[in-house]
């Protein structure tokens, strides 16, 4: 008998360790307990799977009191994970192995399609590797949506004695946890993606800049890198290819702005994490001034499946110029929260109401913030917007890292706008005046609106314009998205106070 109990940190935060300990104390030595990643259905965590010889059967959420019934077979099961509607509707490419395998078992990884992509890439030259990524249509999943192949091509064509692959794992956006989940649940896929990137652009060294708020992900990634090195997946001779690639895990230090690629590079170099002006592009002058690919975790973790199944297979999914799958993270006040990987194109309303099941509180949905703290608050009237980069842009929003935070009708959008400005003030690196000072003034201006100053809304609009135009990076430049969307889409939350004060 085999029993899977996730070691994903969300599952642990809901009691998975205690459940695993209780199971271990009650079963014999013939039972193998595997600590897997999460299947992504967070509302069912801890989700335990048992294989009694006829396939994996799921149970969840399992509490300590359930363990005896779980083991004697009397606990009601959820059936196969693959048959649970939330899971059955997904297209799992990037997350195909997450929650299925033992995250630190390289043989298990290889048995489920792992390393096939890297082996194929080893047989290709640099130009062919870059062309494959370009043909897949993969765009940066960190938020900006820049075509990954073009970035790689720039680095590949740069001439330098040293090039780098830097993985941006500083996933600081509220509502996002896809990076954390894949690093905890399938770390070798990120390592494989970075190795392919290294071969593609001629980089022999890589770094994962991983936020300190994710101690479990740091532990798993460090262990995976050690194993990959021992087994020859990393090192001077990657899988016997004669080509070198090795990598390290670096820990961030709690600065949100370091998720911006140039801040991240400064931080990695040991400097203050202030934003750099572009040009020069990091692709030409990045880490330590050398040509550097900076890609998000999900972008790099998607590379292996593109090489395993072919660029066309990946590009066949999607909508318009948004190709492949998007790893939606359904979060906040939602009945069925979790990770939902699907082809681009599903509407926002479908995701929130059909997949997510509406609010956890049972009250009506008021707003959904898409794309993290710098994303717009989308009202229910925009629920027909398809999940796609261009479609969200046209609707006055952004997909960002594809996190969705659902709010019910108790949310006070003026307070959410104020929080956006406050957050920007706390996290501003200080380089650009509109962001550094504007965010502080923004908080004050919203307080004036709350106090009934009718003219302050125009001032806030003007301030947001200045921040948008006068900031180097998305922190100052995009904070106006949540602020202005709250102001324009939910005017009642701003007006009632004004009228009440009059």
């Amino acid at each position: 008998m085999k029993i899977w109990v996730p070691m994903d940190s969300a599952a642990k935060a809901l009691g998975a360790d205690e459940v695993a300990d209780a199971i271990a104390a009650q079963v014999g030595p013939d039972v193998r307990i595997i600590r897997n990643g999460s299947r992504g259905m967070v509302w069912l965590e801890p989700l335990v799977e048992i294989d009694r010889g006829d396939g994996r059967v799921a149970y969840g959420p399992v509490t300590l009191d359930d363990v005896a019934a779980l083991l004697d077979g009397t606990l009601e099961s959820l059936g196969r994970v693959e048959d649970i509607p939330f899971f059955a509707r997904q297209t799992r490419l990037t997350f195909a192995r997450c929650g299925v395998i033992d995250p630190l078992d390289l043989d298990d990884y290889a048995a489920h399609g792992g390393l096939a992509g890297l082996r194929r890439a080893i047989g290709m030259d640099s130009a062919a590797i870059v062309a494959e990524v370009t043909a897949s249509g993969l765009r940066g999943r960190g938020g900006a949506g820049f075509p990954t192949g073009i970035k790689w091509k720039t680095v590949a064509e740069a001439v330098a004695d040293q090039k780098y692959i830097v993985c941006n794992a500083d996933e600081g956006d509220s509502g996002t946890f896809a990076d954390r989940m894949i690093m905890e649940g399938d770390p070798f896929t990120l390592i494989e993606g970075m190795a392919i990137a290294g071969l593609g652009v001629g980089a022999t060294r890589g770094y994962v800049y991983l936020r300190s708020e994710y101690p479990d992900a740091i532990r798993v990634m460090e262990a995976a890198v050690r194993i990959a090195r021992q087994r020859g997946m990393l090192g001077a001779d990657v899988l016997g290819s004669g080509q070198a690639f090795d990598m390290e895990i670096r820990t961030g230090a709690g600065a949100y702005v370091c998720g911006e690629e140039t801040s991240l590079l400064n931080s990695l170099e040991g400097k203050r994490g202030t934003v750099r002006a572009k040009p020069p592009l990091p692709a030409l002058e990045g880490f330590l001034g050398k040509p550097t690919v900076v890609n998000n975790v999900i972008s790099l973790a998607t590379v292996p499946v593109i090489f395993e199944k072919g660029a066309q297979h990946y590009a066949d999914f999607g909508l318009g110029r948004s190709r492949g799958t998007v790893t939606l993270q359904i979060a906040g006040n939602v009945a069925r929260g979790g990770l939902f990987e699907t082809a681009f194109g599903m509407s926002l309303g479908e995701v929130v109401n059909e997949i997510g099941g509406g609010t956890r509180s049972g009250r009506p949905v008021k707003a959904v913030q898409v794309g993290g703290p710098l994303g717009a608050y989308m009202p229910v009237s925009k629920f027909d917007t398809p999940m796609g980069y261009e479609d969200f842009d046209a609707a006055g929003g952004l997909i960002g890292h594809a996190g969705l935070v659902v709010f019910d009708d108790t949310a006070d959008m003026l307070q959410m706008a104020r929080f956006a400005m406050e957050f920007c003030a706390v996290e501003s690196c200080g380089k650009c005046t509109p962001c550094r000072i504007g965010a502080v003034r923004g908080v004050e201006t919203i307080d004036r609106i709350a106090a009934g100053d009718a003219g302050a809304a125009d001032l806030l609009t003007d301030l947001c314009e200045t921040m948008k135009d006068g900031s180097l990076c998305a922190l100052g430049g995009f904070t106006p998205y949540p602020v202005m969307s709250a102001l324009t889409q939910f005017p009642d939350d701003f007006a009632t106070r004004r009228e009440a004060a009059e």
Partner: protein
């Protein structure tokens, strides 16, 4: 975790093996904080000397990052997520109630040195908020009663 400032030689011994890294300053600061619970003032000239930086540059780096503490924290560290996903499920009210109970503001330490409360912007528990981290252990879908019990367990 020692309360008194470490000797410069101890700091130097701790971080010197990291000199071979590319961009060694953050790993050094993490190592120092892991050892002594904060980054003491005495570390600044040592790091400046080792890395051939000005003391102002080293100070500037330390003060930029939320993680690095100038003085030791309380015996227990409670980090409460303040980000939007936790706010959407009542995180603000829960946080304020706990700050009131402990009699501290954000970043504050209780008078007996028992608990330090820090805000954190996202623990990646966005589908199971509100979330807190107590001494490195993350707890999801927490409510007032459970947080009270945890605080009682650590004597606060």
């Amino acid at each position: 975790m020692l309360d008194q400032a470490p000797a410069p030689d101890d700091i130097r011994d701790l971080v010197s093996p990291l000199l071979t890294l590319e961009g060694p300053l953050l790993p050094m600061l993490h190592a120092i904080q892991a050892e002594w619970g904060h980054v003491p003032q005495a570390a600044v000239p040592v790091l400046a000397d080792l890395l051939n930086l000005g003391v102002a540059e080293v100070h500037g780096v330390i003060s930029f990052y939320h993680d690095f503490r100038k003085e030791p924290a309380g015996r227990h560290m409670l980090k409460i997520c303040r980000a939007e996903a936790c706010q959407s499920v009542g995180g603000n009210a829960m946080a304020q109630r706990m700050l009131d109970r402990l009699g501290v503001d954000w970043h504050g330490t209780t008078r007996d040195g028992g608990v330090t409360v820090e805000p954190v912007y996202c623990l990646g528990m966005c589908a199971c908020g509100p979330a807190v981290m107590l001494d490195g252990r993350v707890i999801g879908r927490i409510d007032d009663a459970r947080l009270d019990r945890l605080m009682t367990q650590v004597g606060a």
